[in-house]
């Protein structure tokens, strides 16, 4: 299926947020996520099912004012 990850359309066969993050190389990274504009806590990654056209945001600390 196709989903949108950080603004880019990608193809994935993973069906949970946890598996997607591992597939995309975010394992062991300090990141936070939102799916379809809703925050998903770390403890919910394994239970969060992905669907075609899901919009996933993966963010990390960045410089800011």
């Amino acid at each position: 299926m196709q989903i949108i990850l950080n603004g880019e359309t990608i193809s994935t066969e993973e069906t949970t947020l946890e598996a997607l993050l591992a597939e995309q190389g975010y394992s062991n990274c300090s990141v936070a996520t939102a799916v379809n504009e809703a925050f998903i806590a770390k403890k919910e990654y394994a239970n969060t099912r992905l669907h075609p056209e899901c919009v996933v945001e993966v963010v990390a600390p960045m410089q800011g004012g």
């Binding site: 950080n6 603004g7 995309q24 190389g25 975010y26 990274c29 300090s30 990141v31 936070a32 996520t33 939102a34 504009e37 809703a38 925050f39 806590a41 770390k42 945001e57 993966v58 963010v59 990390a60 600390p61 960045m62 410089q63 800011g64 004012g65």
Partner: protein
Amino acid sequence: MSLTLYGTEFQSRLLLGTAQYPSPKILQESILASACDIITVSVRRESSREKAGQHFWRLLQETQTHILPNTAGCRTAKEAITTAQMARELFSTDWIKLEVIGNDDNLQPNIFALVEAAQELIAQGFKVFPYTTDDIIVGERLLGVGCEVLMPWGSPIGSGRGLQNPFALETMRAYFPDTPLIVDAGIGLPSHAAAAMQLGFDAVLLNTAIAKSGNPVNMSKAFALAIEAGRMSFLSDPIEQRDMAAPSTPVAGTPFWLETP
């Protein structure tokens, strides 16, 4: 001389932004030179290839400062709330510098969405630092929904124009005598920061004026000194302005003085 924000005491009255420095090393040196206790940070999309955020996160941890994440760039209450939730998990803090931008040209806060987001975030246990205007009615609303700090702009973000409306800021200080007030945005020079402190503001938050200066490390020290000077001035009950001159040297006994016939 300490500053208390949401029950935590700090020595420094300078809150320092972490963006736009020439290098991570200069950022670290600037933080040290300013002796600030609180730094602001943000969250942005992380590339799994570059992992820029992971490097920055390690640098932040080395600074041993209190972290105040922001919601910079958010344009709706919903965006700001979700960003705050992500920041809380990332940085393990319930502090959030709440920004909801209403206009791309002057980055003015959308005060309606700001109040809406603040109310929801406080209900979720956040300690909200709202980036707002100098409008006292908006300030009242923000305090009414549970904010314990107000952060009015001095002038538009990054403009370096200083305090565009000192009268409004002075009014705000008088209207909210017991609320910590922090001038956030628009500061360009140490004298601007000193002026804010002389008005009785509790602290100043700035970024660009230090980061984009020719010597950020020295400039951060300059700002720290100016903020301390401004605070000491405020506490020392400055004299009132006069329209006419008043000699400081005693007039009595002036040599060669003769009474005019």
